[in-house]
């Protein structure tokens, strides 16, 4: 397999939600890499977490098209509503991250909640979305 490290890390994170410290030597040994090489990759990519995320993960798009449609106010609302700043995890309950474009720029502003993308999100709509249980069907 060409360059197996990213597929392996993606799989580990998808199973565990993060890349635990103790997984790094094992991944390195399996792929004949140094721990430094694996650590370097884990620390380079924004997606990889080294601590468990909260039960809910909210990603707020902070890029230009969303900014043009009230993205700043929405981001501030998300932080206040969830009691959690962008880039932080609160009480294992919720993680809020910035994202730079979901490709939903004509339905801005966009927010991703637990992997589901939402467009034309107003503060009121965001409150509805986080108040509702996660949508079951992902067709």
């Amino acid at each position: 397999m060409v360059g197996p490290l990213l597929p392996v890390l993606n799989e580990v994170q998808s199973e565990l939600g993060y890349i635990p410290e103790h997984a790094i030597p094992r991944i390195a040994a399996a792929l004949n890499l140094s721990r430094a090489e694996v650590h370097g990759v884990v620390s380079f990519y924004h997606d990889y977490r080294t601590r468990p995320p909260g039960r809910r993960v909210v990603k707020v798009c902070r890029a230009e098209a969303c900014q043009a449609m009230g993205g700043d106010a929405l981001a501030a609302h998300v932080e206040a509503r969830l009691g959690c700043a962008i880039g932080e995890t609160r009480d294992d309950e919720v993680t809020v991250d910035a994202a730079y474009c979901f490709g939903n720029c004509a339905c801005a502003p966009a927010v991703m909640i637990d992997g589901a993308l939402h467009g034309r999100v107003t503060p009121a709509r965001f409150d509805e979305l986080v108040g509702a249980p996660a949508e079951e069907e992902r067709s």
């Binding site: 060409v2 360059g3 197996p4 490290l5 990213l6 597929p7 890390l9 993606n10 792929l31 090489e37 370097g40 990759v41 380079f44 990519y45 924004h46 997606d47 990889y48 890029a63 230009e64 098209a65 969303c66 900014q67 043009a68 449609m69 994202a99 730079y100 474009c101 979901f102 490709g103 939903n104 720029c105 004509a106 339905c107 801005a108 966009a110 992997g115 993308l117 939402h118 467009g119 034309r120 949508e135 069907e137 067709s139």
Partner: protein, 504 residues
Amino acid sequence: MTRVYVPRDAAARSVGADAVARALAADPRVQLVRNGSRGLLWLEPMIEVETAAGRVAYGPVAAADVPALLAAGLLDGGDHPLRLGLTEALPYLARQTRLTFARCGVIDPLDLDAYRAHGGMRGLAAAIALAPAEVVAQVTRSGLRGRGGAAFPAGVKWQTVLDTPAPQKYVVCNADEGDSGTFSDRMLMEGDPFVLIEGMIIAGLAVGATRGFIYLRSEYPDAARTLGEAIARAAAAGYLGDDVAGSGRAFHLELRIGAGSYVCGEETALLESLEGKRGVVRPRPPVPAVAGLLGAPTIVNNVGTLASVPVILDRGADAYAALGVGRSRGTIAFQLGGNVARGGLVEAPPGLTVRELVHDFGGGTASGRPVRAVQVGGPLGAYLPASALDVALDYEALAARGALLGHGGVVVFDDTVDMAKMARFALEFCAIESCGKCTPCRIGARRGVELVDQLVKSKRPADEAAVLRELCDTMTHASLCALGGMTAYPVESALRHFPEDFGL
């Protein structure tokens, strides 16, 4: 049973298409088809009903509208306030030239029979019948240029790979559509994935590459699912594998998902990432066409570039080259987003002006306030003031105005925008996403953010602005890749056209 189309495109789903589909599927008379999006994104979820007169569109439809729509005779194309008319006659679509996006929104994206019935795989058949060098010659003659942003002639790149002898060559699709304000690649991968696969197979046959990779950004989970399924179906149908469509030649295709890194959209960083390393930019030369993935000759092309290849082989290079202006040939998928009333995808020959796109197609701002600035070409693209919108959207015309077409994204801002803030954001984004390899980008972006902060508070703003311009100049000329090298575009254009926002 009546066919009703409800898009499965991520943008449509983000505004409730799944709930609409569920509500419609509950009616036994409905045969539900989940198509891609037509690209009239302000009307999403836009559903279509197949009638004797053609497909009739309704939108934007909420799940709660479904009972009333059915009662109004939706299944016969009946009248209702949400009825838009015959889809093909909608002015937004009728004014476009859909070549690359001909099937997007028309068919079920995973229905290979529908793909073939709508002209799919004809380009591949033509390519199999030609000698590899002739396929490359067709691409060269079409004038196709890289749609990812750099606009490098695709034929020249392919010729280099063809001419470089090697035991193994690769085709890599850059599907790391990280530029904010762009979504055409996403729409195509979700709405017509087979056209990308077909384009990659043709590229492989043309240069003798037997393996291909699609490097897709992780922010596009829907595209990942659709592409993964499309690749499996194409393989099952004999289009991928050791014997492509009975040609006796091999092409294997693999989907890879990134991990959230903007700079991995830069082709050499992308190759590093595919090899399982940090996405750090490589110095050039050698170019990837000579020494790319694992040091082998590699075509690295954007989704839109590769997806334009089948139609070129099918209809001929001359038919494609007949469209456009100057050295900008064929069609370009423009993407209209941000504060715009009618955002969406507009495929047209280059030469359309920004004003036509923003006002005629887009209908001005969504907020109803005056347009103040338009950013063309993603986060590294220049800001144009409202007075400069008559510039044509072609590579050379924009370059002459100190702007660039990039990936064709156009983001509209109304008069509430603070352009000093946008300039600061461009630098902040560069600092966040810099791979760290070269100093002008790694350090320059951070110093740039500080300079904008000082500038807006300064009592001598002209002096601070001079330092900022000098920094931009250094970043432009001394950075290793386009990230550091083009961050100056939004910053300098904001300074030039909107000095009042900086206190100048």
